[in-house]
Symmetry: C2
Amino acid sequence: MTTRPTSLGPLAEIVGFHLAQATVVAEEMFERHIGAPLDLRKAEFSLLMLLLANGPLAPKRLAQCLAMTAPSLTLLMARMEARKLLSRERHPTDGRSQQVAATPAGRKLAERSTSAALEMEQEMGTRLSAAEHAMLIELLRKAATRKPAA
Amino acid sequence: MTTRPTSLGPLAEIVGFHLAQATVVAEEMFERHIGAPLDLRKAEFSLLMLLLANGPLAPKRLAQCLAMTAPSLTLLMARMEARKLLSRERHPTDGRSQQVAATPAGRKLAERSTSAALEMEQEMGTRLSAAEHAMLIELLRKAATRKPAA
DNA sequence: TATTGTTATACTCTATAACTATA
DNA sequence: TATAGTTATAGAGTATAACAATA
């Protein structure tokens, strides 16, 4: 059964298409290295990483960094709080806002996630050289930059 | 209100994270250039592009190219067939399989989509030079390559 | 028995609108 | 009146399992 390879046509030049294809592979790798072994979804993992790197943060800020809406974040935090991975306190001077902090268990899981993530990027290293890996991230950053509001 | 920038911590080195961030921007651009004006979802657009470039194809092949499951594709094709964008015929020698072809209306829409996509990539050009655009696609292709089955 | 495609069903993710409370 | 966060609800996308038809 000889099958002629399928042409991508115009898709070949479209960044968004290749982004989607690469995402399929990246998500499979995430699931295997982090999602399944540590029982973490992508957004939960990213949230822990942000708390690990910055200390307590307001939900508002987290929502911006994670590119998610406030209601989605509320649900996410509720699950993680129920799992005792983070705690929420009212801001001392502004009663409307909160400070979200990782619990000791949350920090421990964040650290384990960090090493799992390192292994994940090492697997990515079988497809990309170190220079290519760095270049890819830099180009993705450029592509993702929010345009300055007109 | 001075706000210290938020550190990404380990996320900064993770391809998957930047992939997700870039995808947010790419999807917003898709919606504006193609999704809303032509009433096409991403998968519908890609499907039309594949038919435009290859002529009639079997659903099996389409599912592979689009990285989607057979049941999802069935629903997608049903919607597009109802819109008279494509037609399905049984394969002449193998009654199990089908040949999916764009109708004249489907081809016309595919051609309009192609020029809309060109404009979309031109907007991407405000963030990336032509060389960077090509490099990004090449690196995404490398990252997305399915590993040879062990 | 294996393969192509469909139907039925459920789950995850995310969004919008309406709401509460603080400022 | 504006902002931070929550609740309620709905929609899009996708997956798995069970099925029908053909090889």
